[in-house]
Each structure stands twice: as C-alpha cells, then as structure tokens.
Symmetry: C2
Subunit: 200 residues, 2 copies
C-alpha cells in the first residue's frame, strides 16, 4: 500500500469546492424526478431549471480497499419543491454496517436517517456540527436553509452505496417540509410502503 | 450493530472543543520530556509551565470494530522549544495500513509524515486544507503559527496507535524549526538513528 501517497486537498470557503479531488459527481434537478411528493411543482421546476445542478459531490478516493477511507464535500442547493425541502437522493451503504460522518461547514441542514424497520431520526446540522451516521442507517441530506448546505463527509472506502433501498420503499418514512413559520418539520410520507421484505 | 446509534457532536468555533465527545486526552508540557532537541529550553519551559496542557484531543469513538470510524478534534498550542516548533508525540497506526485524514479548522500547521525507510513529507495546513495521511506513514502535527492549531481527524476504528516507533528511532528524520524569517523549515534531526531493524 505504499503506492498510495499522502495528499492535500483544499476546500474553498464559501463554495465547498475541493481542489485535489479525484472525482466530481453532479445531480441536476431533472435527475430528481419522482423523488418529491408534489409532481406539479417538480414539473414546473424541471421545465425552467432542469439543467441546473441541484447538488454535487467532490470526493477524494485513494482506493476502495477495506481499511482505507474516502472523504469529500457535498454541496446541496437551497430550495423547495412544493412544501418539501430539496434533498439528496440518499443511500445505505452496500456493506450496510459501514458508518459515515458529515461535518457541516456552512448552511443549515437536516440529516434524515432511517433503519430498515422504519425507525427514523432527523439530526439538525449547523456549521461545526458533526453527525455520525451509525452502521445500518439509510441517510439523506436535506437543505432547510436559504444558502447552500456544505458538508465534509468521510466513510470507509469499501462501504459502497445502495441508492435503490429508498426508492423501493416509496421514499423515506417521513418528509421534511416547511412548517409555515420559517422552519422545518417532519410529516409522514404518504407514499411510504415500508421495507419489511428487506428487513434485517 | 444497530446498538450503535446516530449521534451529533458540536465543535466549538475558536476552541475546537467537542460537545458530545466520548473521551478527552490531554498532554502537558511535562509529558513531552525528551522529545525536543534543546533540553535546556525544555527544562526552562517545564519548570514554569510543566502543568499546562500542550495539546488535547476530543474524540468520538463509537466502537473499535473494523469498518467503523473514529473522529475528533486535536488542539495543539503554539510555541517553540528552542528553535523547534511544538508538536504532538506522533504515531503510526498499530495496524499500519490504516490511513487518517486531518482537516485544518484553524491555525497554521505542518503534518510531518515519514515511512519506515526515512522517506519524509511535510504538508502545510491552513484552514480548509485536508491532509490524507496514507497507509504506513508515521505522522505528527506541528504548530508553526501563533495560534492554537485545531484539526478534525478521522480514521478507521480498528487502526490503533503505536507511539514507540518514533522514540525508538531517536525521533523523526527531520525537525521543523524556525527559519529566522517568521516561517518554518525542515532540518535534519541529529539524533535520528533510523528504523532499519523495523523496516517493512
């Protein structure tokens, strides 16, 4: 493993852009079709801003080897689709007992986390907060503020991602929506059908 | 592993103190005897400030299991012992192929890294920089600035630490010293005897 060398990456204040990344991953609004409850509001957004980047990830991946770690920045734009705040697609790790940490660098977010049995937690994130997403928890970032939500993440390099677990259940159990008073709240997701067939 | 729960810790801006930590680890100046070249300067410091904390680490350790991760903050005070800048004792991971990342939150530092064969690298750290300490690299933080050096670290939970590898070689190959012009430079460590007996 001495072929993997030390490296320095720089995270730009304000933008979260990572100089020295090995990869950038972008999701445009048009890529998020079907994820939000208000299909009409989504169609309106997609028609005018579908090609804009909703979120992107800059990552540094030294290897995919067990025992190594991958880190990077996630930059999620602010906004709502109907009453729902913009979120990332979300995932569980393909090796599901792998955790992840998210260090909030700027913005105001919620880390929505759920176990296969529907147990759910929402951890609010402000700059300086670090959320430990425990093994086996599905997780998704939600931007509940008015500025980009920028987080630094780190996870075991062999973890992998399973993005289908959320779609197969009709989403996560709860939605993060505007509370009508400049804040956010959790409400049940009417499309959620559970994951009992996949429960561990 | 569903007994390990999600958690949020908060890193205080300015101090680096971590609310929600599972452990704090402190090193006082008196604990650092023998590590610096200028024994007279060290004795003077230890006589007056020996009980003060030279550095401390706040950590969140969910478990020590392979595949989990540990993170925390390291707060290293500024200062010099003779010409040498204050540093942490340093370590290699007990499972030596485990990496570590250090995200500089404030201050001005150098991550000094060395392989068993004496190959050495010094990565400068300013706020926003993330240093990836590759597997097999011995590493030590050095504060070359005038303020506390605060870093957020993250590493695989099964890594462990070996603190003896540096002492057994008479230190690291190079010292980080004042350059006489408000900066730092690397100079050979006259006490360094190498680690050939332990070379991999």
């Amino acid at each position: 493993m001495q072929d993997v060398r030390p490296a320095t990456v720089r995270i730009a204040a304000g933008s979260g852009e990572m100089t020295g990344r090995t990869r950038r991953y972008e999701k445009r609004y048009s890529d998020l079709e079907g994820l939000f409850l208000d299909a009409g509001a989504f169609a309106t957004l997609a028609a005018t801003r579908g090609d804009e980047v909703a979120y992107h990830v800059d990552e540094f991946r030294p290897s995919g080897r067990a025992g190594d770690i991958i880190f990077g920045t996630s930059i999620l734009q602010p906004g709502r689709i109907g009453n729902e705040f913009l979120f990332t697609r979300g995932h569980i790790h393909a090796i599901s007992d792998r955790p992840e940490i998210y260090h909030c660098l700027s913005g105001h977010g919620v880390m929505l986390m759920e176990l296969s049995d529907g147990t759910i937690e929402a951890a609010e994130m402000r700059p300086g907060d670090v959320v430990y997403v425990a093994p086996h928890w599905i997780h998704r970032s939600v931007n509940v503020g008015g500025e980009p939500l920028i987080t630094l993440f780190c996870y075991p390099a062999d973890a992998g991602q399973d993005y289908e677990i959320i779609a197969q259940a009709g989403g996560m159990r709860d939605l993060i929506v505007a509370d009508g008073a400049d804040g956010w709240k959790r409400v049940p997701n009417p499309r959620y059908v559970g994951r009992t067939a996949r429960a561990r």
